[in-house]
Amino acid sequence: MQVFKADVVIVGAGGAGLRAAIAAAESDPAQTIALVSKVYPMRSHTVAAEGGSAGVVQAHDSFDHHFADTVTGGDWLCEQDVVDEFVRECPREMVQLEHWGCPWSRKADGHVNVRAFGGMKIERTWFAADKTGFHILHTLFQTSLRYPSIRRFDEYFLVDLIVDEGRAAGVLVVEIASGEFTLIEAGAVVFATGGAGRVFRENTNGGIVTGDGMAVAYRHGVPLRDMEFVQYHPTCMPGTGLLFTEACRGEGGVLVNRDGYRYLQDYGLGPAEDKPRNKYMELGPRDRLSQAFWHEMQKGRTVDGRYGPVVHLDLRHLGEARLHERLPQICELAREFMGIDPAREPIPVRPAVHYTMGGILVDGGCASPMPGLYAAGECSSVGIHGANRLGSNSLAELSVFGKRAGEAAMRYAREASRADSARLLQLAEAAATPARALLTGDGSERIADIRREMAQSMEEGCGIYRTGERMQATCDKLAELAERYTRVRLTDRSSVWNSEWLLAIELGYQLEVARAMAHSALLRRESRGAHQRLDGFEARDDVNFLKHTLSTRAADGVPQISYQDVKITRSPPAVRAYGAAQHAAEQAAQGGAV
């Protein structure tokens, strides 16, 4: 087994991982940073983020507004102290990206432009056309090349976390090209491995979004927080689930049902007006819009498409020139994958799984309960998303918390004593054993079958609307699949670029994460944000459930669910209203204050 000695090892080289690596390198250029990724960094799924990244910049906007939009959007399940710090750091991080070359879209005077986004009171979404994630990722990757202390391990796959005496002390990885194991020793470990949306059938995520870091931390006893909250994005391509960014609606696109009616006005988001208005109608939050689709479907007012019911995203009134300037990738996707010109025809859309709000439990400094283990980005639960993430907060999150994680890990690594190398090698050998066994397993189960059944079951049990019965069925099904997983048989037993082996390891990760999601959901007997029930728990229950869910893995693999208080600093839970209702509520509040 190869051994590499680093000071900090970062797993995942998407936006959060790259930002962490740069921050670590800047905070101490003398230390070595190992940056591990199972794909070349620019393939990471940050690349697919389209709409933009939040940061208060306009004079009539304020940190308080961003704070309120985030906490309201999260249905009060946010860590408010962390949200406060987050919104204050966003603009600086966005400027930092600009200084590194990110081609933010500009106003005629040369200043950065911002656009409207769902659930947002005032425009504060920085954007680079509709390829914001792409530009952020490439900017970060290219900037990272300036730092010689960052040693990249491209196409190395995470097999396990090495834990020595309760402390994270490195990672075991496989070099994909050769199939050989490498132990990377480190004083601190940062996970920035992204979300887990691929546990669902229809999703906007890339094939690599399989919850690797979440599962590995979870197997080592680190709790996963708020895993029941999975965001459905309301406007996705039927069949493939590919995303049509929220910016389509920010730019003025409307959603209509089979009768050409802007149905969102029936779900507390109206009134419908010609011009887009922040926090009204199509600029409502994602969970509400996806739920409205579900209700339209129940009422039979959706359009029947080849891949199930759809509604129409109508962009025609924006005109061809504006569409090509502001939404070029959307035009390309519609044209090439669906044969539709958005300037001439409405785009059929339906909701698909987009984002995992929950993740590895970390504090505002990105530290997990395990000493030496840090997490940032979608794989973490730092507490800013609550029960429903505000659109454009995730790109901002990976900058703000990627930086924090990198700096915190470097601080920790400099002070921590190093573990004994011989012992770490022993631990690594032991950790490699199950992966090797998977390669030569002699069972009868096929990974493709288990993966398909898992995704189907998650969609049935943990979709937009949930019932206890169906969630229980999903929990049972996942237990069955986990058992069958112990008996998988691979057809490929070679060493060089054996992707079947990697898929099998990933499937193991996905099953862990899926079980944490389903069990967390089952026991939350209320409706909040993205977790909506139909079986007598339709209302939010702040008395019993203004709490974070913690899922901890028991030895037998069954998730143990416990709860953690939510940090409320200055925004007590209130009615979550949008559209005219929100306006009325604000007026009433102001009237009361006078």
């Binding site: 799924h45 690349v47 600009e98 200084h99 879209s105 040369g110 490439h138 890339g206």
Partner: protein
């Protein structure tokens, strides 16, 4: 799916068992929206788990799934079975060594990207507190197209010069270099000229132009290369007449 099938012929190469690449055929059901990537995933899941290929985003932005489809460099997620007769060939990207099946060795390509200093070397330093550099939409428009490169490598598979001389810097890396040279915030052109002028720089290009033809993001790398031939020539002839170029501020 329509119940119809098409033949997908894949050039297989498993270094642990094949001396040289061999063609293998699969029958794949398809509909008019079945991409080649979807077909490969069908093969992987249902017919042959040993087939290896790179993929991720499915929407032509991550740049993973470049391969030769029907003999042309394309992204598998953006090529559709409907556009081919009964049989379509799929082969690893040309001009790259085959690691296994449809996976090529990318190391050289990544090294070239790294070599061109593809990051902002600020013309003037600016503190974060002072906010963003100003850049008008017109200034941004100068380099925007070159900033759209997804590093998929299709242009290298289209460039015979890359195939004949694997050390040639190549279209993608030069487009990336050009992107930063054209950025009004950047002052690093002089540092990058070295790579342009070098023996492995722009003059390896014989203006075949196929790189721009296959680019899935309309970056037009051939333009970047050929414009830099002019820049290089100008640099050569006028370097004695000019004072030493100003270095970028923050190295």
């Amino acid at each position: 799916m329509t119940g119809q099938t098409k033949t997908v012929a894949v050039l297989r190469y498993r270094p642990e068992q094949d001396e040289a690449p061999v063609w293998q055929e699969y029958q794949v059901p398809y509909g008019d929206d079945t991409s080649v990537l979807a077909a490969l995933n069908y093969i992987k899941d249902e017919l042959d788990g040993t087939l290896s290929f790179r993929w991720s985003c499915r929407q032509a932005i991550c740049g993973s799934c470049g391969m030769m489809i029907g003999g042309k460099p394309q992204l598998a997620c953006k090529a559709f079975l409907r556009d081919y007769p009964e049989r379509v060939t799929v082969e690893a990207l040309a001009h790259f060594p085959i690691e296994r099946d449809l996976v090529v060795v990318m190391d050289g390509f990544i090294d070239k990207l790294q070599k061109v200093k593809p990051y902002l070397i600020p013309r003037e330093m600016r503190a974060l507190e002072d906010g963003e550099y100003l850049q008008t939409p017109e200034e941004m428009d100068l380099y925007a197209q070159f900033a759209g490169c997804i590093n998929c490598g299709l242009c290298y598979a289209a460039c015979p010069q890359v195939g004949l001389n694997p050390d040639f810097l190549g279209p993608g890396a030069i487009a990336l270099l050009h992107r930063y040279n054209l950025d009004s915030r950047d002052g690093g052109q002089a540092e990058r000229m070295e790579m342009i002028n070098a023996e492995l720089g722009v003059f390896n290009c014989t203006a075949v132009g196929y790189c721009s033809e296959v680019c899935p993001k309309m970056v037009d790398p051939a333009n970047a290369v050929n414009v830099n031939k002019m820049n290089s020539a100008r640099d050569y002839f006028f370097r004695f007449l000019r004072p030493a170029p100003k270095q970028g501020g923050c190295r």
